[in-house]
């Protein structure tokens, strides 16, 4: 019956443990859309860490990690309880937590700096423990470190650019404590690295996310330093600049770190969200310039495809969908669009036919959205890029928190990042003391 005596013994041992266990599983309440390798918060999130761009004339003007207390009943609920400036403006953008959630990595798109904060010793008071200032040199020329994605004992940094400022870029791996491991360049038509449909490969990068049980990684594409550090108005009126945006996604053999298939997804596919269900072999993305929802999915013959499945608002008005968040049960997709400041919430129970179930204007501009694992709480921030944010009265800079009832968003609290002297809030990550024991 069993292949070896070891198998039989293990089965007996674990069966006994299972019979001894009758307690219900504790509710998990982490943010969705994170690396599946990460430890999950048990219970509600306690802190939201906000990676914030410095603004001239606002506070100290520096990029900073802002810690917000979101503990229900706390006397400082909904307030900033800690600010850690890194000094200077680096185009603070994205970051991420290590698989053990002990460290929060944040990066600067302009200077290619990386800062590593310890959030385990005191989750209410992050401490800078390491600065990496040789990312471009160590990586062999990748620049604009963007995502920071947890792998077992490692971090995968997806780049946006290179030392020349164009969009050819790659993925860079580090150990959790900040030692360089390797660089994996995105495929191009000239250097296809064995990828199918590589004639269409453009070499741009943006997000990188893994579906471990299928051993696949998916990457998306944006643009290089030359574009993302220019004012948006200049870029859109420069036909040559507008040609320098990505229009592809790449499916990789994750174990071998080799590109396997290039998909044409025109219009700058940005954030990637894999479904969580064990039989849901698909991911969503939205295209910034064409305002479309795309599904990258595996068919019954184990072939992978990319397919447009919906539109966000009125694409002719270029609402610019930016961040998305997929609920833990794969039923609900939140889509933020920057230009109209809207969040649109879709029923994606049928992933091929998203149905709009709610929409709400969050502010004059909106970018990131983070959702709790139980789907009950949603957080929004406002900033896209220093030179792409709106100006004047429309340059609202906020963190806004809501309860999601399943039908509507009910305000919980908001923080005005200009009035508080903080800057332009961007990426959010959740923390909790419960992760680190007593």
């Amino acid at each position: 019956m069993f292949r070896t005596h070891a198998h039989a013994w293990l089965f007996a041992t674990v069966s006994a443990a299972a019979l001894a266990a009758s307690a219900a599983a504790p509710a998990l309440a982490d943010e969705t859309c994170q690396s599946p390798y990460m430890a999950k918060i048990t219970g509600e999130e306690e802190f939201v860490y906000v990676w914030t761009l410095g603004m001239d004339g606002v506070g100290d003007g520096s990029d900073k990690v802002v810690t917000v207390d979101v503990r229900s009943g706390s006397p400082t609920f909904g307030q900033v309880i800690d600010v850690d400036s890194v000094g200077g403006q680096h185009e603070a953008h994205h970051g991420g937590l290590t698989d053990d959630r002990r460290h929060f990595w944040v990066q600067g798109l302009d200077t290619s700096m990386i800062w590593i904060f310890d959030i385990a010793t005191d989750p209410a008071n992050p401490k800078l423990v390491r600065t990496i200032d040789d990312f471009v040199e160590k990586s062999g020329g990748v620049a604009g470190p963007h995502g920071a994605y947890a792998l077992p004992g490692r971090m995968m940094i997806s780049g946006l650019s290179n030392k020349d400022g164009t969009g050819r870029t790659g993925l860079v791996e580090y150990t959790n404590d900040g030692e360089y491991i390797a660089t994996h360049w995105m495929p191009t038509a000239e250097e296809p690295r064995g990828a199918e449909n590589a004639a269409k490969a453009d070499g741009y990068g943006y997000d990188a996310r893994v579906l471990p049980r299928r051993n696949v990684m998916l990457t998306s594409s944006f643009t290089g330093l030359d574009n993302y550090m220019r004012p948006l108005g200049e870029v859109v009126n420069d036909p040559e600049a507008m040609k320098a945006f990505g229009g592809t996604m790449v499916l990789w053999d994750f174990h071998a770190r080799t590109p396997r298939k290039v998909f044409e997804v025109p219009g700058v596919p940005l954030e990637i969200r894999w479904a969580w269900g064990e039989n849901n072999n698909y991911a969503f993305t939205t295209t910034a310039l064409t305002s479309e929802i795309w599904l990258i999915h595996e068919d019954e013959n184990q072939e992978w495809h990319a397919r447009k499945v919906g539109e966000v608002g009125d694409p002719s008005k270029m609402p610019l969908p930016v961040d998305i968040s997929l609920s833990a049960d794969d039923s609900t997709l939140f889509v933020d669009s920057f230009m109209d400041g809207m969040t649109r919430i879709y029923d994606v129970t049928d992933p091929f036919a998203p149905k709009l179930i709610h929409e709400k204007k969050i502010g004059a501009q909106v970018n990131m959205v983070s959702q709790s694992w139980d789907g009950d709480r949603v957080y929004y921030t406002s900033s896209l890029l220093a030179n792409w944010d709106k100006t004047g009265a429309d340059n609202e800079q906020f963190l806004k928190a809501y309860d999601w009832t399943g039908k509507e968003l009910v305000p919980r609290f908001e923080i005005d990042f200009l009035a508080e002297g903080l800057g332009r809030p961007h990426l959010m990550r959740f923390g909790s003391r419960a992760l680190y024991g007593s």
Partner: protein, 235 residues
């Protein structure tokens, strides 16, 4: 239904005899294995078609074998490929699955002359207060292949908790005591990290449960062996 009934069902599926699928490079004609690689979208990359960059130096430590004899990890690593897992015997969570994969790896590698003698398996307990050398020996007898052919599988522990703490730090292996020490799944929370270490003591891969497939690990071993000068390997 108990909380980990799905785990038991999954283990039953995994542990019961089942034919191996055909897409693994390292499959043996007599010992069939199943594992996460059966669910991958692509066939496993063939040995030597990909690279495994150095991740970090595998730290030295003095640990005890099941007879209580002390060993330097650095000396054990020298001259062999090593697959090393941190575990504890009271674990009712992920450790049994990892142990099953290690047992399959030992059996599968045992039928591959090009790998067997150049590979060893090491299980290290982070619960030395309970996992004494004698306890590790008892655990080993349930898991290790009956015969004495390679690859060998060592079961190590530490003299006490103070001795294992710096080892866990050095290997970036998070372990946390649970609030309920009587938790039926075991008193510790931990992330599964199984490491592939080359003959010079460099970590070359870190496997989570989704990638701890004996066939994938063996492909990694064969990939690294292609670049190893014979002189660097033990007899």
């Amino acid at each position: 239904m108990t909380r980990n009934a799905p785990l038991v069902a999954a283990l039953a599926t995994l542990l019961l005899a089942a034919p191996a699928l055909a897409h693994d490079e390292a499959a043996s004609p007599t010992h069939t294995v199943t594992g996460p690689a059966d669910g991958y979208a692509f066939a496993l990359a063939a040995p030597g078609t990909y690279s495994l960059p150095r991740i970090r130096e595998a730290a030295d430590a003095v640990l005890l074998d099941e007879f209580g004899a002390a060993h330097h990890l650095a000396r054990l690593f020298r001259g062999r490929m090593t697959v090393m897992a941190f575990m504890y015997t009271r674990c009712g969570d992920i450790c049994p699955v990892a142990a099953m994969r290690m047992a399959d790896l030992q059996a599968l590698a045992g039928e591959m002359p090009e790998a067997a003698g150049k590979l060893q398996l090491i299980s290290v307990s982070f619960d030395p207060a309970h996992d004494t050398p004698a306890r590790m020996g008892e655990y080993a007898r349930h898991l290790r292949a009956d015969d004495t052919r390679p690859p060998r599988w060592l079961f190590l522990t530490a003299p006490d908790g103070d001795a294992i703490a710096p080892v866990l730090d050095a290997y970036d292996q998070p372990v946390m005591a649970k609030a309920d020490p009587a938790d039926p799944f075991g008193p510790y929370s931990h992330l599964l990290r199984v490491m592939l270490i080359d003959p010079r003591g460099q970590v070359r891969n870190i496997y989570s449960a989704d990638f701890l497939d004996p066939r994938l690990v063996l492909n990694d071993v064969l990939t690294l062996l292609r670049d190893e000068p014979a002189a660097a390997l033990s007899r």
